[in-house]
């Protein structure tokens, strides 16, 4: 069995799975349940001056029957007093000394930051997460994403925190920013020990077409909420990669955003995350999901011959880079397995109307017919010479393994955009002709 334990900027945890700051980490009761179910850490619901919440706070995006494909909220930070929160953290730490408990904080003045940082360490928390990410409610008061979106302000506040911090400090970044790397660099510059990302994304999930008010509905109005859940994973992965690949950041990363299974987790680790945080998936199914996450992740590591998470961490980072580094001479084409084809012709129409018009419908006679095919119905056939290898048909095909994007040998050596430009300048390469 592979070793799933982690050391995240000095915070030790039996596995990388942490409950993200949010409703599931609101109370000691929930933290106990989370640890009993197998979570490695809990990032406490953000502690600050207690706030007041509205009634009706969430909305969900249902896609093709899948509920909570995306999830949106207009909740603020903890509505419990700092005393209660710090006391409960102390309780939880006493019962779970080997698990990670992290105090998430959001206050305004330097004095308040000093006070809350000290109280976090005093109650026994293993680390502090600075919530610079909440995109609603708090930013209007100069906190949350208002801080995270301004690297200078963020740097100043991290500086205040570092003046008093005796335990590791994680800066939680907002995705509501043009380039997240600047915020990450600011955290590094100010001396933070780690970063976590992403917090939620500004969103409106829908408009009720009868009332013309989006959900969550609050007395005839709504507000821009924070978006999270499975739908945000690609955005989060991209931002995690950007921070992991930036040489000036160089901080341990806690990956957050749309994680619900061990596969999601493995992807975040491969792109450079050390710990992983989960909110929406717990709100959907409860703490019990962690069993498959630990079981599946260690089985995956075992199957790849990796003994610990460290062997997977960041392994996919070098393969992602600028577009200019890609090989312009690489070519793959779509190949259809006629044994599997069910005759929906979605590949044809996608290519015909949505891409490059290189899948024809031809007489079926010469091709084997897959199960369920109507005899005599024409079959899709790829004109491989014209296929640009865009992947669209293989993405729309409803049958696993029916359309395979297959590399073909062009007989040409690899050539990046840089090589191409250099070759053109030197006159050693003919320009690639535009498409007719």
């Amino acid at each position: 069995m592979a070793d799933l334990s982690i050391d995240f900027a000095g915070i030790k945890s039996p596995n990388p799975f942490w409950v993200a700051s949010g409703p599931p980490s609101n109370t000691a009761y929930q933290a106990h349940r989370a640890f009993e179910a197998g979570w490695g850490g809990v990032v406490w619901k953000t502690i600050g001056e207690p706030i007041v919440n509205v009634s009706s706070r969430y909305s969900g995006l249902t896609l093709g029957g899948m509920r909570l494909a995306g999830f949106n909220n207009i909740e603020l930070i903890s509505d419990r007093s700092p005393e209660t929160n710090f006391r409960e953290i102390a309780d939880v730490k006493k019962r779970w000394p080997k698990h990670a408990v992290i105090a998430s904080l959001m206050v305004d003045t330097r004095e308040r930051w000093h006070e809350f940082v000290t109280r976090s360490a005093d109650c026994g928390a293993d680390g502090i997460e600075l919530n610079f990410g909440c995109p609603h409610g708090m930013c209007e008061r100069g906190m949350g994403s208002a801080v995270g979106q301004n690297p200078d302000v963020a740097e100043t506040i991290v500086g205040w925190v570092m003046e008093k911090a005796t335990i590791p400090v994680i800066v939680k970044l907002t995705p509501n920013i043009t380039n997240v790397v600047y915020a990450a660099r600011a955290a590094k510059k100010a001396g933070a020990h780690a970063i976590s990302l992403i917090n939620t994304i500004n969103s409106i999930t829908n408009v009720n077409l009868d009332t013309l008010v989006p959900e969550p509905f609050v007395a005839g109005r709504s507000s821009h909420g924070g978006y999270c859940g499975p739908a945000v994973k690609p955005i989060a992965l991209n931002m995690v990669h950007a921070c992991a690949a930036d040489p000036q950041v160089g901080l341990p990363i806690s990956g957050i955003g749309g994680i619900g299974t061990w596969r999601d987790a493995a992807e975040f680790v491969a792109l450079g995350s050390t710990s992983l945080q989960v909110c929406t998936a717990i709100m959907h199914h409860g703490f019990r999901i962690v069993e498959d996450m630990t079981d599946g992740l260690s089985a995956y590591l075992d199957s790849k011959g990796m003994r610990s998470l460290a062997e997977l961490r960041g392994r996919a980072v070098p393969q992602v880079g600028n577009w200019q580094q890609l090989d312009l001479h690489y070519k793959r084409v779509a190949r259809i397995d006629y044994e599997k084809c069910i005759g929906c012709n979605l590949c044809h129409i996608a290519c015909e109307d949505g891409a490059h018009q290189c899948i024809d419908l031809v007489d079926a006679a010469p091709y084997g017919l897959g199960p369920g095919r109507v005899p005599g119905k024409p079959v899709p056939k790829v004109r491989e010479n014209d296929c640009v290898g865009c992947n669209l048909c293989s993405i729309v095909c409803p049958v696993d393994g029916c359309i395979t994007m297959t590399p073909v040998d062009t007989g040409r050596p690899p050539m990046t955009w840089h090589d191409y430009q250099a070759g053109l300048a030197a006159g050693t390469i003919q320009p690639i002709l535009p498409h007719p």
């Binding site: 069993e291 599946g296 696993d400």
Partner: protein, 482 residues
């Protein structure tokens, strides 16, 4: 005329193919993703082994198929055979919440098969047991589902277990009795091998009471488990019963399991006496092996038959005919071989079956299969275990929580204890007995695995079916009561 085989191997392969074929990987993933991952899920309550169904199904959606198999097999070591033979409509699938949404229930049995097939095909052992077995010594009588359930759990708890069975191979009715179109005997034999790898010792061809004596076993062991199932078919008590073509349905089914299918003799006109699930299996398999006519003869009406509705439907689809309110009065012979049955109409008066006078007629047939219930092994049990208490119906009396009998170191499970239920009940009871034995010897209780739930082990219509075996209709009654 003596009976003989009627079809060739190729035809048999087709007619006896799985009625519930395996799911392909994509089908399994799509089906699994329909599951709501319910909390305190009714499917868990309705599984007598309390498999954490939502958890194993979720693992299929994440492609953690090995983990799914582990969830299944930790709860039910015969998960592969149960996936095929469980009457899921009466159990897990019958309880699925999807039915309340007017949707098809999740195909739990087929998903269970998908996961357990995966580890079997890839030779992955997901269960482990300590190498050194120093916790104690236990003798298990009978290598059927009950004995296997008990032996596997004991081995995992560190006991040295020896299983005795009179048959040449293990599995009990899983190997020798289940309709072949539900499960091939190889699946059961594979499960036995998996349990062997947990360190359980099997002694085949050993008849307890003849080749080994219980007194000797009692001396050498800390506990004995009785998993000997039921005996042969009840007798009819009518003239002609001893003709060569009057066969115990179980014996006919045994032929199907021990000979190549194209060598199983079967009549052209088969009469099956009785209308339980065994009768259905016999009539359906006779039909699939080439019988031109196969008729069920039952003394009462369709409402009283003990066969499940879906089994009845299957037999009708296979072209079996049903003669209700009819009973045999004599088996007739020509040249020493069965040629016909004399039948009579019956009526039920005050709950008792009576022959209608003057209603007799003759129906030609060349094979008569007796499926009028199995005997309890009362005489054998009384001889083997003097003082063992049996109930009026010949079942071994026991404490349902520990499966302990009236003798302090003797435990029981399966058909011998419950009078004949399902494979899944037998495995569950065997496992429970193993835990009962462990508790008796160490004073320590073993719990789980149960779904992490605040209600998980509470009484009533919540929690795990392992703790509270409950049928769908019982579950519904309990839930409506509140």
């Amino acid at each position: 005329m003596p009976i003989q085989p009627l079809i060739d191997a190729a035809t048999a392969a087709e007619t006896m193919a799985d009625v519930k074929p395996p799911l392909a990987a994509q089908e399994a993933r799509v089906e699994a993703s329909r599951c709501l991952f319910c909390f305190d899920a009714p499917c868990i309550m309705a599984c007598p082994t309390g498999i954490d169904v939502p958890t194993f199904i979720r693992k299929i959606t994440t492609d953690n198929v090995v983990g799914a198999a582990r969830t299944i097999l930790e709860a039910n070591v015969l998960g592969a055979s149960c996936a095929r033979v469980c009457p899921t409509q009466m159990l897990c699938e019958g309880a699925c919440v999807m039915l309340d949404l007017e949707k098809d229930p999740i195909q739990i049995g087929r998903l269970q098969r998908f996961a357990t097939d995966h580890v079997a095909a890839n030779r992955i052992d997901v269960l482990t047991a300590p190498q050194i077995k120093d916790a104690g010594r236990v003798a298990v009588l009978g290598a059927g589902p009950a004995g296997l359930g008990c032996a596997a759990e004991l081995a995992r708890l560190g006991y040295a277990v020896t299983v005795y069975d009179r048959k040449p191979a293990g599995g009990g009715l899983n190997t020798y009795g289940i309709a072949v179109y539900k499960m091939r005997p190889e699946v059961s034999l594979d499960e036995v091998r998996m349990i062997e790898r947990l360190g359980v010792e099997f002694r085949y061809g050993v008849e307890v009471g003849r080749d080994v004596q219980c007194a000797d076993l009692a001396r050498d062991c800390d506990a004995i488990f009785i998993g000997i199932g039921l005996g042969g078919a009840n007798r009819l008590g009518i003239p002609g019963e001893d003709l060569p073509e009057v066969v115990d349905a179980l014996e006919f089914i045994d032929w199907i399991h021990t000979r190549p299918l194209e060598q199983v003799p079967v009549g052209r006109r088969v009469a099956v006496l009785g209308c339980g699930n065994t009768a259905i299996d016999a009539v359906t398999q006779a039909k699939r092996l080439g019988a031109e006519e196969a008729t069920i003869i039952y003394r009462r009406g369709p409402a009283e038959m003990s066969a499940y509705a879906f089994e009845y439907d299957l037999a009708k689809m296979d072209g079996a005919t049903f003669l209700f309110d009819t009973m045999p009065v004599e088996v007739l012979a020509a040249d020493g071989h069965v040629s016909a049955l004399r039948l009579a109409r019956t009526v039920v008066r005050d709950g008792r079956v009576e022959v209608v006078p003057g209603s007799e007629w003759t129906q030609p047939c060349d094979l008569v299969l007796k499926a009028v219930g199995q005997e309890k092994q009362v005489r054998l049990l009384e001889r083997l275990f003097p003082g063992l208490k049996l109930d009026r119906q010949g079942r071994v009396e026991h404490d349902p929580a520990t499966m302990r009998t009236s003798l302090s170191t003797v435990f029981v499970g399966g058909d011998a204890a419950n009078g004949g239920r399902e494979v899944v009940n037998a495995v569950a009871e065997g496992k429970k007995a193993a835990r009962g034995i462990h508790a008796m010897l160490t004073g320590k209780a073993v719990t789980g695995p149960v779904q992490p739930s605040r209600h998980g082990t509470a009484d009533g219509a919540t929690g795990s079916g392992f703790n509270h075996p409950i049928r769908v209709h019982e579950l519904e009654a309990a839930l409506t009561k509140g």
